[in-house]
């Protein structure tokens, strides 16, 4: 006896769970920290530059500075510049040239940067003016950055550090302040409480309040942003998983649809191969027709999967590769030549090779469809000409596939890229048409940012041009493909093709 339990409880699956990541404790990854440490370092070079400019200015207009109350004679700008410079070199050394250890992590690096910066800023504040100058407001910048890059608690520590440093600067400047305030406490209402002291206390109090408010507001915002960021990462991961799942489903569906057809066609092939005895011509003809229709259906089933995959590929940031156009065309022709031969269609090729950037395999899919269409809609005993050329003084590449066949009607031309579109004329000529081939072409063109131009005349033929707006390189000599049937006298120039100048519809289908 077999017992199996099934349950489909989806509620857990859909919940966003961030194991080990609380909103408050959310920390940034080392990668992000390293990037920010680098950004700080670059920013600090800027500050060093400003300090150097200040020193130049101090040399030129020393008196003016003294007049507005900025002391610079003690050489503090040089000292601060030097400290920042050396510190910056050490940060770079620790970040890029030393192995990461417990004592050399990106977090410690940023901590060191913030503390040294605060010390330097305190020196600057002291000399430029701790009150009645905007210098102390630069502390706010450090608090804001700490809120963004550290946890809430750590940024609070930075905010407290700032308060202490500012207080220290004020006390260092007015050493009598404590004593004086002490005596004020014991003897209130006396003249010890001078306006200057009130002023200093007011500055200390106001700025400390400001620092704490800034810490509170920015750290709140940082928490919100981090929560959203985590949700975004989760959602992105969900989408990726869903795409994988969708592809699996599409593959499974395709397999289930095509497998019975393949069993039927395998049996047909047994008969055709005379593995079941000799086959009379009448039966052979019927069997061939059955197989032809079945192969069309099998093609359609695979095309649906291909199209689905191409559409999914458009959403991905695919790695682009350099693709040699001659290789692609050669591969497609090798694949399609038996079909062309069976209908006595001669495929003539003239290629001036060029290299483009594209998603691997997709260009092959595109040209396989374009060329197989050209063959399918040609009349028997005609030619299909494939010409690759570099035009516009080597700026763009163009591949034109020209057939001599049923062509496309003027009113049908605008619709040929519609999914599952096929004209009754086309259906009569090619019963296995799925109506998906050109949708695939369109999707590949979109993915690879290609343009397509079609000129066609009914019952004469179609010239299908794929335009590569940017090419990487084009070989100088015009080379024929190494195939015996290529005749140089059959070069087809899409510009001078009679189809182009004919009365047929001429359409520029830009697909992006």
């Amino acid at each position: 006896m077999a017992i199996a339990e099934f349950s489909w409880n989806l509620s857990d699956k859909n919940r966003f769970t961030l194991p080990g990541v609380g909103a408050n404790g959310a920390k940034l990854s080392d990668e992000v920290l390293i990037n920010n440490a680098r950004w700080f370092i670059i920013f600090r070079w800027g500050v060093i530059g400003v300090l150097l400019l200040f020193q130049v200015f101090a040399l030129v207009a020393s008196d003016e500075l003294t007049k507005i109350g900025i002391t610079h004679q003690q050489g503090w700008p040089l000292a601060v510049t030097l400290v920042l410079f050396i510190a910056n070199v050490i940060y770079i050394q620790a970040l890029d040239f030393q192995r990461q250890t417990k004592y050399n992590s990106p977090a410690i690096n940023i901590w060191a940067q913030i503390i040294v910066d605060l010390l330097c800023l305190s020196v600057v504040v002291h000399f430029i003016g701790s009150i009645a100058s905007p210098a102390p407001f630069f502390y706010v910048l450090h608090i804001a950055l700490a809120c963004i890059f550290f946890s809430t608690l750590e940024s609070l520590v930075v905010a407290a550090l700032v308060c202490v440093m500012y207080a220290t600067v004020l006390l260092a400047e007015h050493p009598l302040l404590l004593m004086a305030s002490g005596s004020t406490a014991t003897d209130p209402g006396t003249s010890f409480l001078s306006p200057l002291k009130i002023n200093i206390f007011l500055w200390m109090f106001t700025l400390d309040v400001l620092f704490i408010i800034v810490w509170y507001v920015v750290s709140r915002l940082a928490i919100v942003v981090r929560i959203h960021e985590h949700h975004l990462v989760e959602a992105y991961e969900e989408i990726r998983r869903a795409q994988v799942e969708k592809d699996r489903y599409a593959v499974l569906m395709t397999h289930q649809l095509k497998a019975p057809l393949d069993a039927i066609r395998s049996k047909i092939n047994l008969i055709k191969g005379e593995y079941c005895g000799e086959v009379p011509p009448e039966i052979r003809e019927v069997i061939s027709k059955i197989d032809y229709r079945a192969s069309g259906m099998a093609g359609l089933i695979l095309d649906v999967l291909k199209l689905e995959r191409l559409k999914a590929a458009a959403r991905d940031n695919n790695a682009r590769e350099q693709i040699n156009i001659e290789t692609v065309i050669r591969k497609c022709i090798d694949k399609l030549r038996p079909i062309a031969n069976s209908r006595h269609i001669d495929v003539k090729v003239s290629v001036r090779d060029f290299t483009v950037e594209g998603i691997p395999n997709q260009l092959e899919i595109l040209f396989e469809n374009v060329i197989s269409n050209a063959i399918a809609y040609s009349y028997d005993n005609t030619t299909v000409e494939i010409v690759a050329a570099v035009e516009g003084a080597g700026s763009y590449g163009i591949v034109t596939v020209t057939d001599h066949g049923i062509g496309i009607g003027e009113k049908d031309l605008p619709h040929i890229f519609d999914e599952y579109f096929y004209t009754p004329r086309a259906a009569v000529h090619n019963r296995t048409s799925s109506g998906i081939g050109l949708s695939i072409v369109k999707t590949v063109a979109e993915n690879n940012k290609l343009q397509i131009r079609i000129s066609s005349e009914q019952n004469v033929g179609t010239a299908f041009s794929v335009i590569f707006p940017t090419i990487i390189s084009g070989s100088i000599p015009e080379t024929e493909m190494h195939q015996p049937e290529v005749l140089s006298s059959h070069l087809v120039n899409p510009q001078s093709s009679p189809l182009d100048s004919g009365k047929g519809g001429n359409e520029l289908a830009s697909t992006h």
């Binding site: 395709t254 057809l261 393949d262 092939n269 191969g273 593995y275 005895g277 000799e278």
Partner: protein
């Protein structure tokens, strides 16, 4: 239990088969294992291969084949695997397992999806995996089998 499925209905009529006796003669017929859950495909492959002088062991499930392979003192020369037998991944898992234990055994995949299944093979093996698309087409199918087994002899 895990013996190959015996041919039941495919009556071999020597007079009817074209291109037979390829591997016959003084040499022992090459043995080919074929795994597919579709009885019609199994039957087709068996007919084609046997008509051309190969000995065929058909298996319905990958597990049947693997058990038989592990217990066999004389493994086949070539195995034709289906990617999607039973579950979707079983063919791929079996491939890795068999490759590890029988590095000399030729393996071919035969699937309805043809090259479209290849993304599922990425990262599976360094070597190029041959994928044949169904339906079984006798002429090209035989040429693939011959070239694979031919390489073995050289």
């Amino acid at each position: 239990m895990h013996a190959p499925i015996q041919q039941q209905d495919a009556d071999k009529l020597p007079g009817e088969v074209p291109g037979s006796a390829l591997a016959q003669g003084s040499r022992v017929a090459k043995r080919i294992a074929h795994i597919d859950d579709d009885p019609d495909i199994r039957d087709t492959v068996r007919r084609i291969l046997e008509a051309n002088g190969y000995a065929v062991d058909s298996y319905q499930t990958m597990n049947d084949f693997m058990v038989s392979l592990w217990n066999s003192a004389d493994p086949p020369d070539l195995a034709i695997l289906d990617v999607m037998v039973e579950t979707m991944d079983i063919g791929l898992e079996a491939y890795v397992e068999i490759r590890k234990r029988f590095p000399g055994l030729h393996l071919i995949f035969m699937t309805s999806l043809g090259e479209e299944i290849r993304p599922y093979f990425t990262g599976l093996s360094d070597e190029w995996i041959l994928i044949v698309e169904k339906p079984v087409e006798p002429v090209s199918f035989l040429s693939i089998i011959r070239s694979r087994l031919g390489n073995n002899e050289s």
